[in-house]
Symmetry: C2
Subunit: 126 residues, 2 copies
């Protein structure tokens, strides 16, 4: 185990903080969407099913502060705003993408495991 | 974007459920610990700073139900219990490991970005 990895186990280490930010459900989904292309706020809101505008706004602010996302105001009337990944955010998104792709490809395996577990008698679950 | 990836955006798709389970802070940390070797409950509790026994127990149960982790009772007096990854869980842990390693190696970059962001005048943050 490298030091960099073991750091995530300690609550005061930066790696744990980063994990909490980018590992959040909404952080993962925003990264996954922005990996494809830049999005306007309303597009992100429409793409990510179930996210509230408040949570989207808060998560984008956290990601901007973390240096993962930039916010651009396009000179138009009315002004249009879009979000895109920084080079740093893109590096993270690529690593995240491999994981998300694996999850997407294997989700049914989990559903099958759950059905098998639920069919057991309670004592067998202990 | 593949169908498997786009599924994570929809709240009723299995991929989103899996993402919520394994993407949780504690799920990631348990996978990361068990990737190294099997652990007893008390070892996991000691390794993962800040997790309560209740949350560890709940997360392990979710991971067993998802088919990621198995629980073994060693015949001893008193019986000893340890947890280890299934082959399926190991596949996930390997993908997760690449991400966690990247986060560990880049966490300081995030801290620097945060300091830069916080030093801006509030209007520049809008």
């Amino acid at each position: 185990m490298t030091t960099a990895v073991s750091n995530v186990f300690h609550r005061d280490c930066p790696a744990r903080m980063v994990l909490d930010h980018v590992g959040s459900r909404w952080g993962v989904l925003i990264l996954t969407a922005l990996r494809e292309r830049s999005h306007r706020f309303s597009e992100l809101h429409a793409t990510i099913d179930g996210i509230s505008e408040k949570m989207l706004s808060q998560t984008l602010t956290t990601m901007r502060r973390d240096g993962l996302v930039t916010r651009h105001v396009d000179p138009a009337v009315p002004p249009k705003v879009h979000y895109e990944l920084t080079d740093f955010g893109r590096g993270l998104a690529e690593h995240m993408h491999n994981l998300v792709r694996w999850i997407g490809a294997n989700a049914e395996h989990v559903v099958t495991a759950q059905q098998k577990y639920d069919a057991q008698e309670p004592p067998a679950r202990q």
